[in-house]
Symmetry: C2
Subunit: 218 residues, 2 copies
């Protein structure tokens, strides 16, 4: 199912690194650079240059020997590969502090992710505005998601409400969910769930920090 244009399977790691390359490439484009070598890209992303070249050849040959990669072209190609070359609408549930922060988050917008619908269960919040969007009641979720053909949902509610929101999203046909609560949410296998819990990363780093400090302590 997941294969390049030659029919070969693409390693998971490759797909994980593409967004990393894309971020740096967009930065370089903003800085007015026109070409970049795999060596330079390697420095900026902490990825081995040979690996970058190998990763890219899964999708075609985008570079010029002796020159490097044209940045504008490569951004365009990587965006197309990822499906990030057009706008994606997001539905957001939870009009609290977190929801407001997400709706106004620039990073999403930069990559074509636009929050176009916000829901809340609290009648006091329904009808208020966050940015340009008017908060709707959660009972309107299914209709709006269907009408707007939204496939990405964001869960930014209190923990106890998380599973219920996930179920509503699933029923409405949402395919990707971002869960901002610490709760383990269950979804069917057709849905991809991302937990944006910073705790996993913190714990991971903590391991190394503990070792380092252990060394100096003992």
């Amino acid at each position: 199912m997941v294969a390049d244009e030659h029919g070969r399977r693409i390693p998971e790691g490759v797909i994980e690194r593409l967004p990393l390359y894309l971020g740096v490439l967009i930065q370089l484009r903003q800085d007015g650079q026109s070409t970049v070598s795999s060596a330079r890209l390697g420095e900026l992303t902490d990825v081995n240059p040979a690996q970058i070249r190998r990763d890219l050849t899964h999708f075609g040959s985008f570079g010029k020997r002796g020159v490097g990669y044209d940045i504008v072209t490569l951004v365009d190609r990587v965006q197309r590969i990822l499906g990030a070359d057009h706008v994606h609408r997001l539905a957001l549930v939870g009009a609290g502090n977190l929801g407001s922060a997400i709706a106004n988050y620039d990073g999403l917008r930069q990559h074509g992710f636009h929050v176009t619908a916000i829901f809340d269960a609290d009648p006091h919040k329904v009808g208020t505005r966050i940015g340009d969007i008017i908060v709707q009641h959660i009972d309107d979720l299914a209709r709006t998601v269907t009408d707007q053909n939204i496939r990405i949902g964001v869960i930014a509610v209190p923990p106890e409400a998380a599973q219920g929101v996930a179920d509503r999203f699933t029923a409405a046909g949402v395919r990707i969910m971002l869960n901002y609560t610490p709760v383990i949410v269950r979804v069917p296998p057709t849905v991809t769930l991302h937990n944006t819990d910073p705790v996993h990363e913190l714990l991971h780093t903590l391991y190394y920090l503990s070792r380092l400090e252990g060394v100096s302590r003992v």
Copy 2:
């Protein structure tokens, strides 16, 4: 440097999976379970049971043949391995919507991460409260971080202020940073930076979604 008690190097992947196991184990403990097999843990985490057993043996042998792992013991051991067996203080910069959401986030607290200092550059916000914490002026960051011996910093400010905050944190001796802005922040190699940008994950999933829909469209 990163080695188990037998002096062997521990693969990065092992350390990445430990927080995953821990999350599920804590859940099981809450549900009142007393033991768990690697097979069951494998189901709950989507990790191969053999791998779970192998991962754990890097740190000792915690199970009982024929029985499984005692959950309370294993939670304790994994927390100790990760350094998550005591409280860690966090300094947070940015008292806006995002900052408030982070300061009140339950997931951090559950794992012993306590936000104990909040800073902002806006004089109108200085002196206000978020939860139990009184917002301090950003100029007090260095002193407070040093006094409280804080080693983890959270950046929740507008993008243009991110690098400045990172620099202040670095100067104050912070060792781990969570960057909630979409900006690429530069830190010295002694600092571990985590970008909690949901965009990378979204782009990653988008790849698979685009493929699947491509199939049904064509």
